[in-house]
Symmetry: C2
Subunit: 466 residues, 2 copies
Amino acid sequence: MNVYAVILAGGRGKRFWPVSRLKSPKQFLPIVGNSPMIRQTIERITPIIPWNRILAVTGRILKEKMISTVPELPIQNIFLEPIGKNTAPAVAWTSIWLQQHDPGAVIAILPSDHIIGDVPGFQNVLISAAELAWKENLIVTLGIRPDRPETGYGYIQCGSALDAAGMAYYGARFIEKPPLEQAEAFVREGNYYWNSGIFLFSRKTILEAMARHLPELDGRLNALQNELASPQFEAMYRNLPSVSLDHGVLEKVDNLVVIPLDVGWDDVGTWGALKNLFPPDDQGNVALGNTVNVDSKNCIIYAQDRLVATIGLDQMIVVDTPDATLVCPLNKVQEVKDLVAELDRREMVESSQHLTVERPWGNYTIIDAGDGYKVKEVVVHPGKRLSLQYHNQRAEHWVVVQGEALVTIGQEISKITANESVYIPVKTPHRLENPGPAPLKIIEVQTGPYLEEDDIVRLNDDFWRG
Amino acid sequence: MNVYAVILAGGRGKRFWPVSRLKSPKQFLPIVGNSPMIRQTIERITPIIPWNRILAVTGRILKEKMISTVPELPIQNIFLEPIGKNTAPAVAWTSIWLQQHDPGAVIAILPSDHIIGDVPGFQNVLISAAELAWKENLIVTLGIRPDRPETGYGYIQCGSALDAAGMAYYGARFIEKPPLEQAEAFVREGNYYWNSGIFLFSRKTILEAMARHLPELDGRLNALQNELASPQFEAMYRNLPSVSLDHGVLEKVDNLVVIPLDVGWDDVGTWGALKNLFPPDDQGNVALGNTVNVDSKNCIIYAQDRLVATIGLDQMIVVDTPDATLVCPLNKVQEVKDLVAELDRREMVESSQHLTVERPWGNYTIIDAGDGYKVKEVVVHPGKRLSLQYHNQRAEHWVVVQGEALVTIGQEISKITANESVYIPVKTPHRLENPGPAPLKIIEVQTGPYLEEDDIVRLNDDFWRG
């Protein structure tokens, strides 16, 4: 039995704005825990599924983010959607790819941004679920035993037990986000489980189910299969229907079974989830970062370096980032996505990227700007280098403040270290490299009449950028 | 009749935190309008009172702020309290100074941080009030006709009319911040006025009233008078009782009269005042700066460059500054001062100063800092220069980004302009000067093991600093 994990990492995490942004979404951030959610997701399964059987589907604009966040993942295992099409096309794509590469594969579909407390317990259930899916041609979902009448989750009603041991149940019905009274009844009745979004099935079982229940998608998949490596693929993928695996397939099949899972799961779906994931203070506040709260209670205050001060708040959320702050009542957390839609409509940069911009070689942060100048802090990872480039309109001053730099300016190559600086005149080819074992940090002062990112002429690049 | 204005500018403006800070309080900021509140206050009276008869009392740490905000004010007209002692000692000090310089003076006491819509109307009333104070040895206060049952103001009940024209009334009683029902009754009854804090009296009248009602203060004032220019003055002033003019004197006198004033006055006492001073949008929000509000209503959102986004707020205040954000319900605005007290208790820098620090020669802003380095944007006003100085522990790189700099490094003096840079080694005397007519802006990158402000050895300074 060859089990593959397919990590669904195409989401935008709108509900976690302003920490989550289009180009740096929730699954690539350590919202909870010390490493990005997707790293936690993958490291949770690598003891039972080898790296070369872990596939990840994400958006094309997140390619560099995926590579830098999970560099262990083989590049051919990253599936870059030209456009997000919800989960069914993503699952279909990886399934037809496996049809060519390992037709006997068992597939575990895993969301990339959930947390699980009891990892060994989870691994055991995952192995059992994979065996069940493989032996019985079943579609297996892991159902979370609800410990509260959560109205933000989907539920699955269970029917009769599959076996005498009561390890699995036939799935009877999907119920999306129920009203509170219904959710309370579900918790009382005991045979309802939260839909974790974790599904297991054989490659063959899921493609047969898609053929039966999503014939339109199936027809196109057969065509797609012949074009996996061709230039036609993108246009074909863009034309696929946007539909979720749950709604398009799983709600309609008769071979769905639920294995209960009781391992401290949370989908970290909204800012409100922090209430369940961090211990509150005496006033019921989850207050993280630099914050002073006077007479506030039952709030979530998510600050970073800047000071967030509150007085007399109740059931409120305040989230602060270097360039944007969100204030919102706890009972409106679902509407953060509407706010992000509004920011998109206004084409506000705060919707799509942070002040610190990730690059394959490191990152930069604009720390100051004004008429005729811009100042950046630039971090280059050990062993990495920027492209050999020049600018038509700006000169640059580099001052090394941490680490060691190998600097090319015109024909000259020199090594400079903390407290040394160089000057790069307009139109002069130059390159910045970190030859050392520690991060290199420089302060770059740009001067000139035009200072945007598109004034870069790349002569040579380790990352194949134009 | 020589009318002097005494501008009381010693307040800290705690209720306007985080925009108002200990070292940059409300009266020196353009909270409402395009110039600092104290400039608006002074420019409102310079058509009727000459600059050399305008005196200002403020705290010693605000000396540079006062000079840079109101450079037209003669330096000898600025009274720097060694410590704030409420309004009675400040009025006493300026009155005994006038006893020596112009004993026949009439004094108009003016708070430094209020706004007035109808300036010519105000000037007319001020002139009438000064004449009345001068001719009749009266203590005259300007009373504001209340247009709403404001519970945040003090009221003065009026008695019988002083004259047949009904231009002035005898003052009967002071009432501090009444409960709402009482305030509503005051508005109905019509003979109650808001205490504007604006008072007029002759030098002789006020000193006689102080002698009678504040004998302890009066006794010390006679002593103070002999020491106005001596080193003993500071210790004596520090020992004065802290008491307000209203409570210590005016509530007790029998020669107080009220002249009604109806000129669009507001004391801009709390963030809530912005509700009365800016036109609200369709949802009743006063939303200033870079802000997006979805389904929020009746809020005050005071943003600057950073984005402040709100969802579904009602009657809330959000105030954002580059290093601190305040979130607070509208009905808790009075408690902002308690929050500031808490910040003081924790010795948090956000209580006392902004990221941008004012200096007599210009200002600087820390734009980045990390292990072994600090980056500042430094602005030097035309014609100004920093001290000739050196540092024992840090080197500096200066890149000029706007304007022109005259730079001294060791024995070398050179002129550098935008896009040029210089390096100042550790322990090397150096000086930065702006010889040009436009502001000079440089980016300063400091490197070294210790980067605090106290590693400055000043060899020569235009501003007499050690």
